[in-house]
């Protein structure tokens, strides 16, 4: 038997040691911490190897939520560093709303360097810098990639540019009404890829339901439905409008025709055409997979990405959807063009490397096209290559089993310009990018929002309209009640009264003053 030192600890000593350890850890935790790379610090973003580091928030949902394989990420990062002398670093955001919360926390705490992120620039104006001069000096590729109409959404009243367009003016989005192609063919129903009428839509939907009692009409939310169809019954569609009679900007709910739109939607609801959960938390994919969706009025990528995946799986043999370029009704075009004019890539005001960020993004906008695809998909020749010399189609290799994945953390080009240059060769993403390329700048299929080019100051409007959320809630809640018949349409006047009681006049005054100033009225 071996003999050695033998320690015994009684219960009291054990508790004392535990208490000491716990207290000690508290004191240590409160002590000075090793310094994190500070935003706006004296090192001006310069690393020890003399290369400038820039930190960007991804502009897209990453190909893989957990981010790239480290070795692949480094390969792409090294390649760009070699090309530019600037080392880009990308974040991997938590999924869903937590991603936006993390971004806001980073912006407010300023403990980590962040040099580019996306959002509505009018909301973030207090935290970002104008980039007019930087673009002029280092961003010529970016400047020439967008039409002037899109740049107008990035400018304030003084003409200063605050961001690089993220969505801009999208003629092609959400204003499409998709019809079930195989049903149209099987039932011999009318379809014109150029133009369809509301009457034809109603005829087709009735025929769909006659053939299949479970057939439904689906939309993504009330806004999508209005964006698709409201213009059929109103002059301005889903757009604020200028009332000549009193010189005021008003919400679309107050324009003549909105009540007629609600009346028609209520009729469709009573016909049993709408999916019952359409204004709640409907699972779009589940409904699509059920094979009962006859018409979809909504956001294009629901069909070009989500739908296409299901069609390729052949869940319901032969199921596919087609759309007419134009839907028309008694008041003309039914759709309203989407003008997300203020969604932008922005540089935080305290970024120490603003020039380098613009240079990095400008590199991606190189018209030779290789750079954008590299930032998006990885290394040319290894992860992707052009299908032919036209450089309009990309063949990706990283999807092969076992290959290391680059998830796209460094891509800062999602938006309109770069996405129109090329499309992946694969049948899933090919449909999506082909759709964008065809329709992105085609504004002729929907009504143009009246004030699409007015650079509203969102922060000032929020300050002037403290009851904004009340108005928003009334608009969505009551419209849905009218459509679903919970509230009779005879009470539409009461609804308008309650909007005014909730502070609509503040809303009208706030928008009118900025509209009048911008238009010089």
């Amino acid at each position: 038997m071996k003999h050695g030192l033998k320690y015994t600890v009684d219960r009291r000593q054990f508790l004392r040691l535990s208490a000491l350890a716990a207290s000690g850890s508290i004191i240590l935790a409160c002590g000075p911490q090793p310094e994190a790379p500070a935003a706006g610090g004296d090192d001006m973003g310069m690393a020890e190897d003399g290369v400038v580091d820039v930190y960007v928030w991804p502009s897209i949902a990453l190909v893989r939520p957990e981010g790239s394989d480290p070795e692949k990420y480094k390969e792409v990062q090294d390649y760009i560093t070699e090309q530019l002398g600037i080392r880009p670093n990308g974040f991997v955001p938590p999924p869903g709303a937590a991603g936006r919360e993390r971004l806001n926390l980073m912006l407010s705490s300023q403990t980590e360097q962040l040099d580019m992120f996306t959002g509505d620039w009018t909301q973030y104006k207090a935290a970002i810098m104008p980039i007019t001069d930087l673009l002029e000096e280092h961003g010529q590729n970016i400047l020439t990639a967008f039409p002037e109409a899109t740049w107008s959404g990035m400018k304030d009243a003084n003409g200063d540019i605050w961001g690089i367009p993220r969505l801009g003016l999208m003629g092609h989005t959400w204003n499409f009404t998709w019809f079930r192609e195989d049903w149209i063919n099987d039932l011999g129903l009318p379809f014109d890829s150029e133009q369809m009428t509301i009457d034809q839509l109603e005829g087709n939907m009735a025929a769909f339901q006659e053939a299949n009692p479970d057939a439904v009409l689906v939309t993504n939310n009330l806004g999508s439905l209005e964006g698709c169809l409201l213009g059929a019954w109103s002059e301005y569609g889903r757009s604020r409008w200028y009332d000549e009679s009193d010189g005021q900007i008003k919400p679309y709910q107050l324009q003549p025709g909105y009540e007629a739109f609600l009346t028609k939607m209520n009729e469709w609801w009573n016909n049993g055409w709408f999916h019952k959960e359409v204004f709640a938390n409907m699972d779009f994919e589940e409904v699509l997979r059920s094979g009962n969706m006859g018409i979809h009025c909504g956001w294009y990528s629901r069909m070009t990405i989500l739908g296409q995946r299901i069609f390729l799986e052949d869940v319901i043999p032969g199921m596919d959807f087609i759309f007419p370029l134009k839907m028309v009704g008694p008041m003309g075009l039914a759709g309203t063009n989407n003008a997300n004019m203020t969604q932008a890539y922005m540089i935080p005001a305290n970024s120490p490397v603003a020039k380098e960020v613009i240079q990095f993004v400008n590199w991606q906008y190189d018209p030779v096209r290789d750079n954008a695809v590299t930032a998006h998909y990885g290394i040319q020749g290894t992860d992707w290559d052009w299908v032919d010399e036209t450089k309009e189609q990309v063949r990706r290799f990283d999807a092969e089993a076992g290959a290391a994945i680059y998830a796209g953390e460094l891509y800062q080009g999602a938006g309109l310009a770069i996405e129109t240059w090329s499309a992946p060769e694969d049948p899933l993403w090919g449909r999506h990018y082909d759709h964008i390329k065809k329709y992105v700048f085609d504004y002729s299929n929907g009504k143009m929002p009246v004030d699409f080019d007015v650079p509203y100051d969102g922060a000032a409007i929020a300050e002037q309209v403290p009851s904004m959320e009340d108005i928003n809630r009334l608009n969505s809640e009551e419209a849905i009640k009218f459509i679903t018949g919970v509230r009779p349409l005879s009470e539409f006047g009461d609804f308008v009264d309650s909007l005014y009681r909730a502070g609509l006049q503040d809303w009208i005054d706030a928008y009118t003053s900025q509209y009048v100033a911008a238009k010089g009225l």
Binding site: R16, A19, N104, N281, P466, S467, E469, D470, E477
Partner: protein, 304 residues
């Protein structure tokens, strides 16, 4: 001073034990209270700490904006009604379950029942919401399947104001009943078995034993937990409602927290959100004080 030192010397070990707790409370509960100031300022999300501290006070503007909200009274009503319904159903349910489990003598069955009843407590609210959709969904939902089988029409229960609160309360009871019963079971385990033996000899029935021995024996736990519940009366279940509600049911579902989430946090109006949070905390404190006083009045110990 010497008295303080004497006490410290005498009970130093216990103060040492308390130090981590004090540190936790100071760092995580008291220091953040400095943030209350932003309820009285116009703070933009990207101000530095220095800018927040030196910015001027604007008084009660954010409180007034909230009180003037078109939906203020609706929000108060929804918050209180949902919370009261939840209290009415989910507060007694664990007591009842604990009483039932306490009477089970088959150890195997007892353990299985307890494990099954604790399980929902460990589900995140996202999972619970997903289950609710599966059970109550229009397309393929279990409840609607039964409705159709019995010749009825499928209903959109989650979008129907008449059903929404019932679903909320039912889900809460299901998720909390098992976990909530643990404290009561522990309190029952501390009761003297001889009391039950004596009652048995005197011919007391099971119901009489529960009424005259068990319930009075655990009444102090019931009172303390009830006081805490009253203090939480303005917390009607933000996560649960946010995940389940939609504009169709705002009139019965929109509570203070969901409103603040939309009006304050999503629009980066942190000062407004803080003002409403402070208002809620003050009301909760008043409710807690009142409940504690009432408990004292009834002869119970309360929480102090």
């Amino acid at each position: 001073m010497t008295e303080v030192l004497r006490i410290l010397r005498k009970h130093g070990f216990y103060y040492l034990l308390f130090l981590p707790v004090a540190g936790y409370l100071i760092i995580f509960k008291y220091v953040p209270m400095i943030g209350i100031m932003i309820a009285f300022k116009d703070v933009t999300p990207f101000m530095s700490m220095g800018e927040i501290v030196t910015s001027s006070f604007i008084g009660f503007k954010h409180f007034v904006n909230f009180f003037n909200s078109f939906f203020f009274w609706d929000l108060m009503e929804n918050t209180l009604m949902i919370s009261i319904y939840k209290t009415l159903w989910s507060f007694p349910a664990p007591i009842l379950l604990a009483l039932l489990i306490n009477e089970v003598h088959n150890t195997y069955f007892k353990r299985i029942s307890q494990t099954i009843s604790y399980l929902p407590h460990f589900f995140s609210m996202v999972i619970v919401a997903g289950l609710v959709y599966v059970v109550f969904g229009v397309q393929g939902g279990l409840v609607n399947h039964l409705v159709v089988l019995t010749g009825g029409e499928p209903q959109h229960y989650l979008g129907d104001p008449r059903w929404f609160r019932t679903i909320l309360v039912g889900t809460t009871v299901w998720q909390t009943v098992g976990w909530g019963s643990i404290l009561y079971l522990a309190a029952m385990a501390g009761l003297n078995p001889e009391t039950y033996e004596a009652a048995n000899i005197d011919g007391a029935s099971k119901i009489q034993q529960v009424r005259h021995i068990t319930l009075p024996g655990i009444s102090h736990v019931i009172v303390i937990l009830f006081i805490f519940r009253i203090g939480d009366l303005l917390d009607a279940g933000f996560e649960q409602i946010l995940l389940l509600y939609s504009p169709s049911v705002y009139e019965v579902a929109d509570i203070i927290d969901t409103y603040v989430y939309r009006a304050g946090l999503l629009n980066l109006k942190y000062s407004f959100a803080s003002a409403v949070g402070l208002y809620k905390s003050i009301l909760a404190l008043l409710l807690l004080l009142a409940a504690n006083k009432f408990a004292n009045f009834l002869g119970h110990q309360g929480i102090w």
